[in-house]
């Protein structure tokens, strides 16, 4: 650690870094932090620096959560600590005198904070390591880019915007990507400079929609990469005078997902590789846990009021807790034929979800499967869309029913930890309350102005 600290110090002096932007992620996935002078940053490297805990105490509309208090909070307002993860230190290519580093939030005592999603994910990765398992993960990031400037988009209420593509919804069309090159080239240049490994990108199904695919990485790094991609895509949009959104359903027709793939190895062997076409016992229990806890995990995959508008049949989003071999209609897609690419893709999360929590929910589900010997049901065997309302394990369809499912699932709660789950459920019920009592329309069947105002530019 000290050699890494020395190395960072040398780099700051050598590269003329004057400011270090410290970044942490709230439960809602917002990036918060400070800009510190290089001197202040280096002086606080060993312990981290303070930030007001209210940074985690407000909802997406800026209203303080004034309906509960957490045990870790001081009786009045106080500070928590931003503890930098120096492995994530990078110089910003668009601001050469500024570096950035991702941080974990901890209590002043140094104890982990239950609402630090990055720490939660790391704890689960450590738990796996303790059992001799190594996880790798990779996200698919979807976003929609529009030609209007932020101020013009706001004036239009984020409706009827001009997609950065042809108006037709086709997908994989290079003709569309051509419209996005100027924007994408700059995004990719900056991502490469800060060490985010992009495996590929392509035009997605909605007008103006782009999908970026990441190389597999350690789970915490995989989620870090999503945070960096979203930041960078927003920064470039701001610099080029356009807008980008990761909202789960910014319009009535199209949505953004955040699919996540993960693999497991034990002693170098791929756990999800189906030798002779059959998944092994550990893989079956792991997958059984992931599928069984999906209704509860939906709260983390679909965190907002708007997230659930994406969860409709025949729209590429899953609606039932199902799995299948290479089946993209299922919530969980299993690719098990090749040892080198054996993995599980979870397709529930919306683009508005916190990537640390998405992956934490998947890993916690797998761990629950191992701990409780959860049986794997048969693969769904039919298309997972348009199924009758009864007789199938439908996923929750509202923010409140998803929170109830999480509250009721002792297996997932145990793996995620009660302090985190309790805090999460309170914030989701708060979001429900805010929607219904500050102008959201309970009878709306499509995305409302309330949702666009609250989510379009920040989630």
């Amino acid at each position: 650690m000290s050699s890494l600290m020395d190395e960072i110090g040398e780099r700051i002096h050598r590269d003329g870094i004057r400011w270090v932007r410290t970044d942490a992620v709230t439960l809602d996935g917002l990036v918060i932090g400070k800009h510190l002078s290089a001197t202040k940053f280096l002086g606080s490297l060993a312990t981290g620096h303070a930030i007001s805990e209210i940074a985690h105490g407000m909802d997406l509309g800026g209203t303080p959560y004034l309906a509960w208090w957490n045990d870790w909070r001081p009786d009045a307002l106080g500070d928590i600590v931003m503890r930098p993860d120096l492995d994530t230190f990078a110089v910003l290519p668009d601001r050469p005198n500024t570096a950035t580093v991702l941080c974990d939030n901890v209590e002043l005592s140094g104890d982990p904070l239950p609402l630090c999603s990055r720490s939660l994910l790391r704890r689960l990765v450590d738990e796996l390591a303790g059992r001799g398992l190594c996880a790798r993960a990779a996200f698919e990031v979807e976003a929609m880019v529009f030609a209007e400037s932020p101020s013009a988009a706001r004036r239009l209420g984020w409706r009827g915007l001009t997609p950065m593509s042809l108006p037709a919804a086709l997908g994989y069309l290079h003709q569309n990507t051509r419209h996005q090159y100027r924007y994408l080239d700059e995004v990719l240049r900056r991502l490469e400079a800060i060490g985010v490994p992009i495996e590929g990108f392509h035009d997605e199904a909605a007008p103006g929609q782009i999908e970026l695919n990441l190389d597999p990485a350690d789970p915490v790094a995989a989620a870090d990469h999503v945070v960096r991609i979203k930041q960078t895509m927003r920064d470039v949009a701001a610099d080029q005078g356009c807008v980008v959104t990761f909202m789960a359903k910014p319009s009535a027709e199209y949505g953004n997902g955040l699919h996540v793939h993960h693999s497991l190895t034990r002693d170098g062997s791929a756990v999800f590789h189906a030798v002779d076409g059959n998944l092994g016992d550990e893989a079956r229990r792991w997958l059984g846990g992931v599928v069984a806890t999906l209704p509860a995990a939906t709260s983390l995959h679909c965190p907002n009021i708007n997230s659930f508008r994406r969860m409709v049949g025949f729209s590429a989003a899953p609606t039932v807790a199902s799995w299948g071999h290479d089946d993209k209609s299922a919530a969980v897609r299993v690719l098990s034929r090749s040892a080198s690419a054996a993995r599980i893709e979870c397709r529930v999360a919306g683009g508005d979800a916190n990537p640390y929590l998405v992956l934490a929910a998947v890993l916690a589900g797998g761990l629950a499967g191992l701990d409780h010997d959860i049986d794997l049901p048969p693969p769904i065997g039919v298309a997972s869309w348009g199924l009758p309302p009864t007789g199938w394990p439908h996923l929750p369809t509202t923010i409140t029913s998803a929170a109830e499912a999480l509250e009721a699932d002792g297996r997932l709660r145990a793996a995620l930890g009660d302090p985190f789950v309790e805090q999460w459920i309170k914030t989701r019920r708060w979001e429900w309350l805010m929607y219904h009592t500050t102008g959201g329309d309970a009878s709306a069947v499509a995305t409302t102005g309330w949702e666009l105002t609250r989510y379009f530019e920040v989630v």
Partner: protein, 209 residues
């Protein structure tokens, strides 16, 4: 005793609030009979935002659901933001003339009996005090006449000060503690921790949870 007031699956806040208001009638035998014998469909709509519910009185059961039933007998449009004021603006009512009996019943049932501020504070304390995070003691001071009510451990960890009307409103579930504090309608002496926890209780109390 089981309530005859039901709510929809996965209810919205206004459904819970209206159901809670209606259930308060059940503690009074005469009002409980009125609740059980009323028939008709009433839409209750917010004047300032999209919140709207339908109350269906089915002689023996009452169902509260989100949205406006197209075939409602009566519609009431009220300003939710000012309903807890001492002299709130009168709601706009349509359909009352052709459904006089229903209108009379509903006007009573949506205005259930509320005790004085001390009685309501006592009820609220009985509800809130067992919940984790609440202060061990509560002192309430009426700014109209200086009267004081104290609950739990003394000296109280938390104090609420306000006019008799505002105290009655917040303790009966007509308004929310945190909102009243932010609006300067009530005052508090205590820690933010307790303000937050009591506000959570106040919200749940209002929604009958």
């Amino acid at each position: 005793m089981e309530s005859i007031v039901d709510v929809e699956h996965d209810p919205v806040p206004l459904v819970l609030i209206m159901a809670n208001v209606l259930r308060r009638n059940e503690s009074d035998p005469k009002r409980a009979r009125l609740l059980a014998h009323t028939a008709g469909r009433v839409v209750f709509r917010s004047a300032s935002d999209p919140q709207v519910v339908t109350i269906e009185f089915r002689r023996g059961r009452v169902m509260v659901t989100r949205g406006a039933a197209p075939d409602a007998d009566m519609t009431i449009v009220a300003d939710l933001a000012t309903m807890s004021e001492e002299k709130p603006p009168k709601p706009a009512v349509s359909g009352a003339l052709s459904h006089l009996r229903l209108a009379l019943a509903v006007s009573k049932l949506l205005d259930p009996p509320v005790g004085d501020w001390q009685q309501e504070a006592e009820r609220f304390w009985a509800y809130a005090s067992p919940r984790p995070g609440c202060p061990s003691g509560l002192k309430v001071t009426c700014l109209d006449d200086g009267r004081v009510a104290e609950f739990g451990v003394r000296p109280a960890e938390y104090e609420i000060h306000g006019t008799a009307h505002r105290l009655r409103s917040v303790f009966s579930g007509g308004s929310v503690l945190g909102e009243d504090l932010l609006a300067g309608k009530l005052y508090a002496v205590g820690m933010l921790r307790h303000t937050a926890e009591l506000t959570g209780c106040s919200l749940d109390w209002m929604m009958g949870r």
